[in-house]
Subunit: 230 residues, 2 copies
DNA sequence: AAACTAATCAATTGATTGCTTGAATAGTGG
DNA sequence: CCACTATTCAAGCAATCAATTGATTAGTTT
C-alpha cells in the first residue's frame, strides 16, 4: 500500500515536471528565443519573422509551432497570413528573467556584448527610472529608432519615431542643445547604439536608453500606440 | 560594407541567443527541474539527490553537470562528497516563473494537479500574506512537515518541525483549538496535503500553506535556520 | 598500502531534435 | 475555375540527447 502510493507519487512528479520541461524545451533554441524577442515588440506573420531572422519560412513556421505547442505564442489566421503573438505577458517576463540570468552567469554573454556592442559605444546608458523622471520634467527628447511599424504597435509615451535609416536625413529637425535619448528593442538591439553614435558625431547630446520598449512596458511605465485606421 | 556589417549583426545575434538557449536547454528536462526543486530546499550531495529522485547516481551526476554547464548550480567537493546548490537565487526565480507560466498555460498541469492533489484535499489554502499576518498576531501554529534536515537548513520563522512520519506520534503535543498551518516544499509537495488530512481526521483545525519554504523565503518573509555545530 | 566509497567518465544504445527540400493545403484575386 | 501566395506538412538525414552499464578517479578508512 505504502509502496503503491510512493510509486504513484513518483509517477505524478515525473509527469508533472515533464510538463514544465515542455516549456524549457521550447526555450532551448536560440532561434526560438530570437522569435520571442521579436514578438515582444509586436505581433508578426511568419514571413516577416522569417525575413527578420534570415531564415526560411518553413523553418520559421516549425519553430513557431514548437513555441505554440508549449503555449508560449498564439497564432491566428487572417486571410493568407498567420499572425503570431506572445500568448501572455508572463512569457516576456520569463524570457526576461532567463536573459538576465544568462547575462549575469554566462561569462560568454558578457564577453560577446562587450566585444560587439561596446565597440560601438562605451557610454553609460540611461536607466528606466531616470528616463521616466526626465520625461516627466519634459527636459528630454525621446527617439524611437525602430522601424515605423513597431513604433505604431506601441512606444514609450511621448517618444518620436525616427527609424534609424532616416535619422541622418532628419537631423536638422532635432534641437542642438537638448538632451536626446534613443531606444530600440532591448539591451541587445543595435539600432540605438548606432543612432547615438550618429547623433554624437553631429555634436548632439545623445544617450542610449539601456533597455527597450518591451521592458519599459513590462515595467509599468506609460506607453502609447497609434490606432489602426478602419 | 553594409552587407558585411549585417552579416556580423546576424552572427552576433545568432551566437548571443544560442548562449541563452544553453539555459533553456538545461531547463528542458523534467528530471533536471526536479533537481532544481530539491536544491531550492537546501544543498545536497549527488547520492541524496539520486535517492530522492529514484534514479541512478551516474544519471543524476550527468544531469547535474548539464545544470552546472549552464551555470544554474554549483558543486563543491568536500571529502568524498560533492555538494550541489543553486548558483544564484535568481535561478529559483527563473524556475518559479517557468512553473507559474506552466500552471496557467499548460492545461495538462492543472488537470494533473486537480486529479492527483485535489483528490487528497480540496480545501482552500492559506496564502503567504495571510500566513504572515496570522504569525504576527501569534494566533497560529505553523508546522514544517519536511524532513528534519530541510528544516535545519532553513524554515519559516516561528515554525515547528514535525516531519510527516512522526506526526501521528506527536499529535498530543498539539493544541486542540488553535489554528494549525502546515507547509512543505512547494505547491506540488504532497507532505503538507497529507499532514492536513491526518490532523483533520483527529479533529484539529488544520490548513495548508499554498506554497512552500523556498517561495516564502524568495518573497522576503522572515526565515530562520539552525546553525551547524562546529 | 589495501579496501572501500562517492562521483565522474566513457561507450553504447535508442529516441528525439533540427534543418532542408519539395509537396500539399487553404485562402485570394483575376 | 485558374494562377498565385503564405503557411504547413512530410520525409529524410545528420546531430544531439538520454539512460544504462561498467570502468576510473579521488579521497577516506583501516
Amino acid at each position: 500500500m505504502a509502496v503503491v502510493e510512493s510509486v504513484l507519487k513518483r509517477e505524478f512528479k515525473t509527469d508533472l515536471f515533464a510538463q514544465f520541461a515542455r516549456i524549457g524545451g521550447a526555450l532551448a533554441s536560440g532561434r526560438r528565443l530570437e522569435l520571442l524577442e521579436l514578438l515582444a515588440q509586436r505581433e508578426r506573420n511568419v514571413e516577416d519573422l522569417a525575413r527578420l531572422t534570415s531564415r526560411s519560412a518553413a523553418n520559421t513556421s516549425q519553430h513557431l509551432q514548437v513555441l505554440r505547442a508549449a503555449r508560449l505564442v498564439e497564432g491566428r489566421k487572417a486571410g493568407l497570413r498567420v499572425t503570431y503573438r506572445l500568448a501572455d505577458e508572463r512569457v516576456f517576463s520569463l524570457w526576461k528573467s532567463l536573459r538576465e540570468l544568462g547575462e549575469s552567469r554566462l561569462a560568454e554573454v558578457s564577453q560577446m556584448v562587450r566585444t560587439y556592442l561596446n565597440g560601438k559605444d562605451s557610454l553609460e546608458a540611461v536607466t528606466a527610472a531616470s528616463l521616466r523622471r526626465k520625461l516627466e520634467r519634459g527636459d528630454v527628447i525621446v527617439l524611437d529608432v525602430r522601424p515605423a511599424e513597431e513604433y505604431t504597435a506601441g512606444h514609450i509615451a511621448g517618444a518620436r519615431s525616427i527609424p534609424l535609416p532616416q535619422l541622418r536625413a532628419r537631423l536638422k529637425g532635432l534641437p542642438k542643445r537638448r538632451e536626446i535619448v534613443a531606444y530600440c528593442r532591448g539591451p541587445y538591439c543595435i539600432l540605438a547604439y548606432e543612432a547615438v553614435a550618429l547623433l554624437r558625431s553631429y555634436g548632439l547630446r545623445a544617450f542610449r536608453f539601456e533597455q527597450g520598449f518591451p521592458e519599459w512596458k513590462a515595467g509599468g511605465h506609460p506607453v502609447q500606440r497609434i490606432e489602426a485606421k478602419r
